[in-house]
């Protein structure tokens, strides 16, 4: 990992986003900035494949190395115990060329890992989580580890 900054930061929950005692939107729960290294970022989450987590995690920021392109990219998935895996995976990019969502895979110890790519040069973004789906409303996603590489090959 070369010259990469990543931080779990204070969760920001806007007023009015609570539902039935749970916070369904978590803004800025993790921040990443990069100045060099590989273009692929593997985020290991605390979401176990046995958790029934159903939700969306979004990356928002700017890709300077690609031409100061806005970033808004999302992944969604369901951590489904009967399959012992993540299923129904969705990968979407709002702004072309800003950041690409590549895959979500299960780590060797059973957690969801998200892979995205963007320029490694002076780019930075925050992560938001939306946990409004009925199986795990208010789930508290966290990033347990981040590895910067040059491919989508599993690293966790």
């Amino acid at each position: 990992m070369a010259n990469l900054g990543s931080y779990p930061i204070n969760v920001q929950t806007p007023s009015g986003s609570s539902g039935q005692g749970t916070n369904l939107i978590k803004l800025n729960f993790y921040y990443t900035v990069t100045y060099s290294g590989g273009d692929y970022y593997h985020y290991k989450t605390n979401i176990s494949v046995n958790s029934y987590f159903m939700g969306m995690i979004e990356f928002v920021g700017a890709n300077y190395g690609g031409g100061m392109i806005p970033i808004r990219t999302a992944v969604c998935f369901y951590a489904y115990p009967p399959s012992n895996d993540v299923i129904q995976i969705g990968l979407s990019t709002c702004y072309s060329d800003g950041m690409t969502a590549h895959r979500v895979y299960k780590s060797s110890d059973g957690y969801a890992v998200i892979v995205v790519s963007t320029s490694n040069y002076y780019s930075g973004w925050v992560l938001n989580a939306y946990t409004a789906n009925p199986t795990t409303p208010g789930f508290d996603p966290q990033i347990l580890g981040l590895t910067q590489t040059s491919s989508t090959t599993a690293v966790y």
Partner: protein, 151 residues
């Protein structure tokens, strides 16, 4: 057009700055003839600040939501890098970025179908490598048909 009651999210521990500024500005017009909307920022081109600004809202007259964005980097004497992107939402297009006559960064949006009850907020993201923590603000706005520079 007054600034909205936004809030600034601290997110970068090394300088105590704010990397996300939500509801930086509220914009609204009911004038259907308005096709170009300009915002002047407080980012001087005589700076080294990477900024992404995103508009989110609803253009009633065009029957479409809005989500589009501008990215720029000021590099001492000019805007060295810039990009505009518009999502699949069609309510407004991120149309351009330019320097005002007094050398501040301005952004321009375009609504092909006018702006009859067009309302949106601007969010600011200073997440990239330079300029985190800058106190981003919108200092002026202009609504009309000017596809060039309004400031």
């Amino acid at each position: 057009m007054a600034d909205f009651n936004g809030y600034r999210l601290k997110g970068y521990p090394d300088n105590g700055g704010h990397n996300v500024i939500r509801t930086l500005h509220k914009a609204f017009t009911s004038d259907s003839s308005v096709t170009y909307i300009h915002f002047k920022t407080n980012v001087p081109i005589a700076s080294y600040i990477m900024t992404m600004i995103e508009a989110v809202g609803y253009n009633y007259g065009m029957q479409a939501p809005i989500r589009c964005a501008w990215g720029f980097y000021t590099y001492g004497t000019y805007i060295v890098t810039q990009s505009v992107r518009t999502s699949a939402y069609g309510g407004m297009t991120a149309h351009g970025i330019y320097a005002s006559s007094d050398n501040y960064v301005c952004i321009r949006g375009y609504t092909s179908g006018g702006s009859y009850f067009n309302g949106f907020v601007l969010n600011g993201y200073q997440t990239a490598g330079n300029g985190r923590g800058y106190d981003l603000q919108i200092t002026a706005s202009s609504y009309g048909t000017n596809s060039g520079n309004a400031f």
